[in-house]
Every structure is written in C-alpha cells, then in structure tokens.
Symmetry: C2
Subunit: 634 residues, 2 copies
Amino acid sequence: MYRGNFDIEDYLESREALRHLTVVEDGAGLKLTLRRYAEDDVQLALRLVELEDGIRLESLSAAEGINRFWLRVAAQDEERVWGCGEQMSYFDLRGRHFPLWTSEPGVGRDKSTYVTWQSDVVNRAGGDYYHTNYPQPTFVSSRRYFCDVETTHYADFDFRSADFHELQVWGIPSTVVLRSAPTFIQLVENIGAHFGRQPKLPEWVYNGVILGLKRGQAHAEAKLAEALANNMAVSALWCEDWAGVRETSFGTRLFWDWRWQAERYPSLDKMIDELRHQGVQFLGYVNPYLCVDGHFFPEAQAQGYLATDGQGQTAVVDFGEFDCGVVDFTNPAACTWFKDVIIKRQMLDLGLSGWMADFGEYLPIDVTLSNGVCAKQEHNRWPVRWAQVNAEAIAEAGLTDKATFFMRAGYSGVQAHCPLLWAGDQSVDFTRHDGLATVICAALSSGLMGNAFHHSDIGGYTSIFGNTRDAELFMRWTDMAAFTPVMRTHESNRPTENVQWFDDAEVAAHLARMSRVYVRLAPYLKSLVAEGSERSLPVQRPLFLHFEDDAACYAIQDQYLYGPDLLVAPVHEAGRSDWSAYLPEGVEWVHLWSGERYPGGQRVTVAAPYGEPPVFYRAESTWEPLFIEVADQD
Amino acid sequence: MYRGNFDIEDYLESREALRHLTVVEDGAGLKLTLRRYAEDDVQLALRLVELEDGIRLESLSAAEGINRFWLRVAAQDEERVWGCGEQMSYFDLRGRHFPLWTSEPGVGRDKSTYVTWQSDVVNRAGGDYYHTNYPQPTFVSSRRYFCDVETTHYADFDFRSADFHELQVWGIPSTVVLRSAPTFIQLVENIGAHFGRQPKLPEWVYNGVILGLKRGQAHAEAKLAEALANNMAVSALWCEDWAGVRETSFGTRLFWDWRWQAERYPSLDKMIDELRHQGVQFLGYVNPYLCVDGHFFPEAQAQGYLATDGQGQTAVVDFGEFDCGVVDFTNPAACTWFKDVIIKRQMLDLGLSGWMADFGEYLPIDVTLSNGVCAKQEHNRWPVRWAQVNAEAIAEAGLTDKATFFMRAGYSGVQAHCPLLWAGDQSVDFTRHDGLATVICAALSSGLMGNAFHHSDIGGYTSIFGNTRDAELFMRWTDMAAFTPVMRTHESNRPTENVQWFDDAEVAAHLARMSRVYVRLAPYLKSLVAEGSERSLPVQRPLFLHFEDDAACYAIQDQYLYGPDLLVAPVHEAGRSDWSAYLPEGVEWVHLWSGERYPGGQRVTVAAPYGEPPVFYRAESTWEPLFIEVADQD
C-alpha cells in the first residue's frame, strides 16, 4: 500500500480441479464432498441449500493449505453482467475482469492520459478501470439472477470467458448465493433485502444545494449570504475544515482530530444555531484516523483503541507529512468510544446534521487488530465497520431521520449502514475514466447492489498536474446534480486554482437556478426516496430496469432513469450545444424543457444549453403537472 | 502483435504438481515417469541422462492437453544469474522474471519516462525492462553452471524466489540441460561449444569506422571525402538505402525490395569498385520481407515462397503505410531462392561486403507456414532461420572470411549463424533503460550466451517525441565504440533532426580521432576476435569472468573487460567531466590516457574528457607497448 493505492501480486503454486464429487443428503441440504481424485483426501466440503428463488452454497471445511478458490458460473454468449460494487468505468462488466479490493480509485484511471501517467510516476496513484473505493463480490446477470460471494478476502471476478464467469477468491468464502427473480425490479428489491436498506434522506436535504466551503467561518457566512442574495436554494453548509487545518508542502490539509476548532470557526456553536433558524444545516467531516499531534490520539492510544504494529506499538500511518493512528473498529470498546466521545459529543451535540465520513478503504494490511483477524481479511470489511460506527452513533442519538452522512468507501453490507454514497474524487474534467460521466456509471452499478441514494461532488474534486476545472464543467455537473438525490458542491483539492461558483457570477446564477429546479422537483424525488428506502429501488436506475424488452437499453451507461418517469442524459463532453439521448421504446417521451414529444425506441438530439440538461418524462406520467412546473423558467 | 510489439496474456486453467515419480534404468539413462498421484495416468515421461559435466533431461512423452511446463531449479540466497539472451536493462536477472519472446525491445522501456508513455499511447511500443530482440531460454548461474531449455515456445524465467528459479514454458521442451564448469571462462567456452561459434570478423573491419549514410550515392561519396579529409580511418560505408526509399507520413522509409536501386545510387557498381581500391568496403541492408509493390514479391508469391493466411492467400503484414509478404524460411526452396536470387545475385555479386540483416523478431503468429508448424512455435526460431539464410549464402559464395552481416534479433542457436550482433535501436539519450548504458548490458549478457562479437549504433537510433541526440551523446558513444569489436555510426531514424558527425566539426574530429584509436588497438582486438572465434570468449566480458574471487565485480553492469587486459568504464551520463570506475582486486591497473597506476580492489575517479573514455590496462599486460601507442595523442 502506498497512500491507499495497492500493488497486488500473486504467485500461483498450484491450481487443481476438484473433479471427484460425492453428494449426500444431510437434512440441512446436500452435502458435497470434493476431491481431486477418488483416493484423495477430502479437499473441500460444501453444503448446497435450495432456496425459494435459488441456491446457497455453504462452505463446511477445506483441507489445510487451500488458500485460493475458483468457482465457475455458467455463462451465455449474449449475457451481460453488472455490479461488483460501485464501478466507475464499465457498467457492463462482461469482457473484463474486476479485482475486488477497496482502495483509492486512481487519478486519471486511463494509462493514455497525461494526468494518469504523472499520477503513476509521481504518486503511484494513476489507477485503472477497476479501481474503486467500493468493490463488492456480487454481480447481477442479464439472465435475471444475482450472485453474491460472502467473503472479505481479496477477490477477482473474471467475465472474459464466453462460457463461464470465473470467481476467484483468496480464501474460502463462507457462502455463495445465486438467486433469481422474474423481473429486474424484483431482483433489485431482493438484493436490497439481502444486504439491508437505507433510511430515508432527512427532510432538510430537499431544501436545496449543500454548499461545500472550507476556508473558515467568515468565508462560510459570507458565501452563504452571497448564495441567498443570488436566490440560491441552500439546504446546508458543508465545512470540511470545522476541525481545523494544517499546512503541508502539498497545500492545506485538514487537521485529523475530530472536534470543533475555534481558531478557524470562532463561534461555530452560535453559527450553527443561527443557520438552523434560517433553515440551513451545518455539516462536517470525519474519518477513522487520529493524527498523532491531536487531542484524541493520546486518549485512544492509552485506552488501547488503536491498531498496533504486532510488536505492541501503536501503528502509525503516513498520510503525507503527518502521521495518524488507526482506530481499531474490531474492538467494540473502541467503537463505543468513537461513537460516544467523537460522533455524539463533538459532532451531534454541537448540532451537526451530517458529515462526510471519509476514507474507510485505507486499512493498512500490516497492522494488528484486536479481534485477531488478519488485516488483509479485515481490509475489505473496513468500510462496513466504519459505516456502522457512524450509523449507530446517529441512531443511538435518536437522529436517524435528522442527520446523515456520506461515504465513498463500501463493501458488501455497507447498504445496511451507509445512508448515502458519494462517488469519490473524480478529476475536474470530462475524461472517459475519471470525469463527469463516471459518476453515472457509479450510480447505476452501486444502485443495482441496493444502494438507493448516490451523489457526487459538483465540479469534481481532483485537480493536479495542471488539470483545473472551468465554468463549463462546473455548470454541466450542476445540471446533472439537480437530477440526483443530493446536490452538493466541492471546492476541489485546490480551491484557488479551480472555478468556484462564488468567483463567477454566471456560474453562481446557474447554480442558483438549478438549486431551484431541484427544490421544485422535490415532491417527485421524495417519492423515489421512499421507494428507495422501502424497496431498495435506486433513485438513479439503468434504463433496462423499466424497459426489459428494449434490447437497446442494455448497453447505455451514460443515461439513467430518475425514478420510473424521468430520463436523464447528462451532457458529458465539452463544447456541446446539443446532445443526443436514447429514448426507450414502448412509451412516448416529452422533452422537459421544450415540451416536444418523441415516440420511444429512437435516439433523438435536443438543444442542451446550460440549465437545460437533456431530461425527458413519460408522456403518461401522473407527475406531468409537477414536471411542467419544474421546467418553468424563473 | 502490433508492429513487432506483442501483448501476451495467459489464462491458467490448472497447474498441478506431478508428485508421483517412478524411476527405471533404461539403458540410455534413467526413465522418469511422472504422475499427479499413484493411480493417475502417466502425465509426463522424461529421460535423465548423466553428462560428464551435468545432466540432460529429455522429454519422452506428455499426456494430451498438457501445454504448460514449470520446472524449478534449486537456488541459493546469494546466487546471481545472467543471460536469457541479450538483455538491455538488467545483467543480473535475480529478483525479476523475464518473458522470453523475440520482439521489438520497446522505445523508452521505462514507464516513468515521457518517451515511453508517448510510445505506449501513440504506438503501443513503449516496452518494458525484459523486452528484447534476442531472448534465449538459457541462463548462467554464479554457482558456475548454465541451464539451457531447448524449446521455441514462449517462456518466462522467474528468478524472484529465494529458493528456486522457476522456468515456465508454454509447451514441453525437448530437453533441459544443466552443465557446470570449474571456472566461468570454461563455462562460457562450453556454452559456445553448445550453441555454435562465430567466424572471425573480416580483416577489413579493423581499418576503421563503418560510416552509416543513407541519403544516396552523391551524399555517401561526399561524406566519405569529408571523413578522409578529417583523417578519419574508414573501413566501410554502410548505405541502408542502396535498394531505394519510399516516402511515408512517418518520414523516409527504405524500399523493401532487395536490389540495387539506380535512382538513388546511379553507378553503385562502379562506386563499389572505386571504394574497394581505396580500401573501403560497401555494406547494404536486407530484411526477410518483400514489399508488395516491389520486383521480388510477385516472383516469391508465384513460387509459393511466402507465408499464407491459412485460406491460401498470401499473408501481408502492414509495416506502416506499406504491406509486405513474409518469406517462408520453413520452406527449403524459399531459403534457396532467397540465398541465390537475392543475397548472392543482388548483394554479393554486386560487391557488398556485408549488411544489416534487419528484423527477424516479427514473424506474425497468425500466418501459416509450409512446414506445418504453428507460427507461435516458429516465432522465436525465426531469428535463427534468418541468420542461417544469410550465413549460408555467404558461405556458399565462399566469402565467409570476407563478408559479414549484423543482426539485432536472436534466439538459441543464432550463435552458430550470426557473425556479429548489433544492440538494436537505442534511444538517442543516456536513459537508464534505453540509452547508451543498455548497450553494455546487452554485450555482457549476449556475450555469456556465446555471442563473442557485439556492437551498437554510435549515437543511438530512435529519436521520437522530441527526443533528439546532441553532440555530447554522439561523442560519448564514439568513445565507447572505439573499445568494441566494430565501430559503426548511424544517422538515426530522423537524420536531419539529430547531430551527425558531418554537420559538426568537433564531432567529426572526435570521431576521426577515435577511429584512429580503434585502428591502433586492432592487433589486440584481433587477438580477442581469434579467442572469440575459437573459444567463444566474448570480446566484451563481465569483470567476474577474470576476477571470480572479487565479490565487488559481480554487481557491475556498466563496465566491461575488453579482453583480459583492458577495462572499459564508458561515461553514460550527461555533463560529466570525470568518471569513477571499479578496478578489480589482485592486480595493478594503469589508466590508459594518463599512465597513472592504481592498485585493484578500489573505485577510482579519473578525468574523462571527450576522447579519453575511462580505460585501464593491467600493469603486467604483455600488450603494454601497444596500449601506450594507442594512447599517444595524434
């Protein structure tokens, strides 16, 4: 690992087919005993349990020394597969393999770009198409089944073969489940039931855009005033720097010691009160590390709440000119402490209505944890533990319907704890593998895994090696964000070098306009959020979810259905004044802004000025009056 | 394959240890029968034959479906290994694995450089540390044995493990030989005997530098006159463009139709005669392809001498805006035709004294060959077939002691046919993985494989993506080349953008001076060439070849012994005025230019102006009078 980026290599000693199978009914199911040949010792014992809608393979025992597992699932030529967590580059996974290991997603993620090359050379951080903060060993097949492998070991799902999907796991998974459903809608509901559902988003979310500001209290207050003067609908201020900052040679970084820092926010408590009176929430930032020069590190260390190095010393991780301890969430006492002392006392008691729960994908694999499990095996589970700590703290404070948090990291089971995903740190550009459009792929793939609510940094985040965002990117991203569950801006990693809405009147006016579009659409969005919370149907849906019979829908990953009645095709190229979108067949579609009607089953081109992202609604929608109101210029 | 660069991927279905061994004496040796388990069918039968100095494993039979082979050779912690053909990046192979597949060697060969990145992005040609025109599944161990795997299948030798070397072959090798010797000198002699030896270089080589010129007859004659006026010792003109050129969007390329082209060389026959009277030879260029718009393609096609596409059509290969047929050297009649009609009639009869026999590493793997062997299996053998055609043509013309040729491609057995290696197409720079110093590594590694004679393009060849050579690089390369078996300049791929000796008076004078150094040293070089030809001792030798007991010698890959009595440490960085070299212990060394004496067993720093490359001789050398004469300024 180098700052969240991993080099993973394997040396394959032997790989042997377990060709000799014995089957015995054992009451609980069929007991499968696998050997390499008839006279061999038992290598693997499994139980096959029949479910109403599929099967479950349970592992019973494995011979000593078996540390790799390959399973083939029969495939068909035309089959498509989706999922594997939150994928940024490819929605349809067929034809590629996907290593499943939570990590930094890469900067650039495309070896042919300058940013990727420089990120690799300078920071070992360029990444590739499969890198993601949120991998998951679960896929959905176009044959209307899902397959989940229950494991936290490193895995690699290979969808390159014509006849089979090959699932590789660096350990024996506890179970493998295959379950089918008659429709994709039903399948996604079942996936949601399998992994857990999210609560509804708090009501304040619908009040407008969350403004990301990170230059102290005065700046935050001033920018809010500017926003309101611009007639911007603002739901919250999100101030990452509420706990302070530190200067490094890389620029200003946050101070990783999770409590109000008065130097930067002299009267934060009063500010939060006043904001609330204006109907504006205050959001903060937290991550699972504690800097060694902070207030909480000594306390956590003294209590034994930090991961150790195996020699009994506290493990410290270098995050770039500062070192941190790793809170050991395998220790229940450490979880309780983090929930009580940090989240409840420092954050919720202060009046925070939410936060970015950052990281989760960085558990170093060489630390020693209190539960005695190897960190390699805990690594993928870490985002889930981290989500759980946050969710439980909020629940224990009785604030689940009032406060929220958003995470980029995930793994199987994060669905039950993380109320809102954010797509991570896109580059501030339109690039194929790290730009605006990757956010759509991320929403669609994570949505099929039962994560109903997704959003992203408006304008992207990562600005490096001369790549900076311009007004066009910010406005196109804003256009899209108005049709996602949550609108939230980010100043980027280099605020002064990148366009901010408050530095550009046109951008500010545009953001204000789209914040009002978002607010006007809220009744419809609320209905989708209810569906998401109750049935796990993602707010942003692949076209085929509602149009199973339209073959043309299956290959599309840069459009989405926003609930059943809206279709969104965000502009994701520079310099465009129009845009083409595919409209699924069988229904009539109405262009939101012009009211023009189009029969489905064709690709149409519409004008796409800033502020009018290509959005269409079903002609027969009962929401039509609202959609007409939404489109009304103001 | 894309223009000589290959993407090679494997899908490993199963890899099983053959743990069950039966041994039977069968007269010819020990017959080894290998099974996975006692009741298994025989998977592999081998014969183990004891040799005077080692063992030979012969494969007798393999079960159907076995198409991969792994063999482990016991290793020790401190062991070093060398060889695997002509390696450009690493002389000591330990700690890395080496795919063995003849191909383009890559441009840049270092993912951190701009040239490599752009070569990858634009041309899929950046390459990596192991890419080479001349791989060979043979290694030499510091435990004083060599191991040769007789196969032409793709192989990958892995020297990363502490306890074993793992030799992977994509097929069953016919034999595996391990042979030891009491000294490294003896070991290299035995390797030479195993693979074949080279004839002595023709006497004219010692007359001076071979001037690479490729702008037609008038230019060649004019530049020779300039060279002679500069008091340059010239042995030959090497005019690649003797058969004509074609213009492409990439620049001027050669016309791949192997006969004198009068447009570019109006009176080449007379010119060659006149040159010979001046003691200057004329060299040309040939490769194993025939362009479809040339004179010879229709003839070769009509006779069935070209590889086909499996549907009976002639396979044509795109070389960048022109297509070529592939002469099928598995067809004896095609070899005879190429030797008689092209090499003897067009080249030797015209009076050529040698040529670059280019390519050999490009056999496309999707062509059909007349011998019925899969092109994947012929691919690695192709350089050897190509060398053999050239060598036999010269031998059949009775000119082995008069004419020569030089190749960059190679494979096991090329030693018996190729009289002179050239190090391929270095970048015109000092970079670690594609610049000047890689030529030393190439000479050392190929030398241990029994290739006694090596040289390189003075100044490098590949100029691309803004990388151009300057006078310093050309002069440093010249300094080194004077202490190699053959001095030869190259105009590079972009002659007008790169420094040429004839465009810069200082460079011309310097080349002239070093050509005279080379000539004065010729008596010593001839003795080394004789040793090379008779005993396969390479002219350029790793330090440990003569200093087995000096542990410090083993890690050095940027110096060489030039025969037993000279040590050469070429300057391979820009901006240097001095240079440090390690002098092996146990003898006293004399700095060639200053006469200063140094005890061995230390690293010394000497002044290193242009024209005085760091060279030292053994104080007790019987050649001392010659060395003193060589160093005399003139």
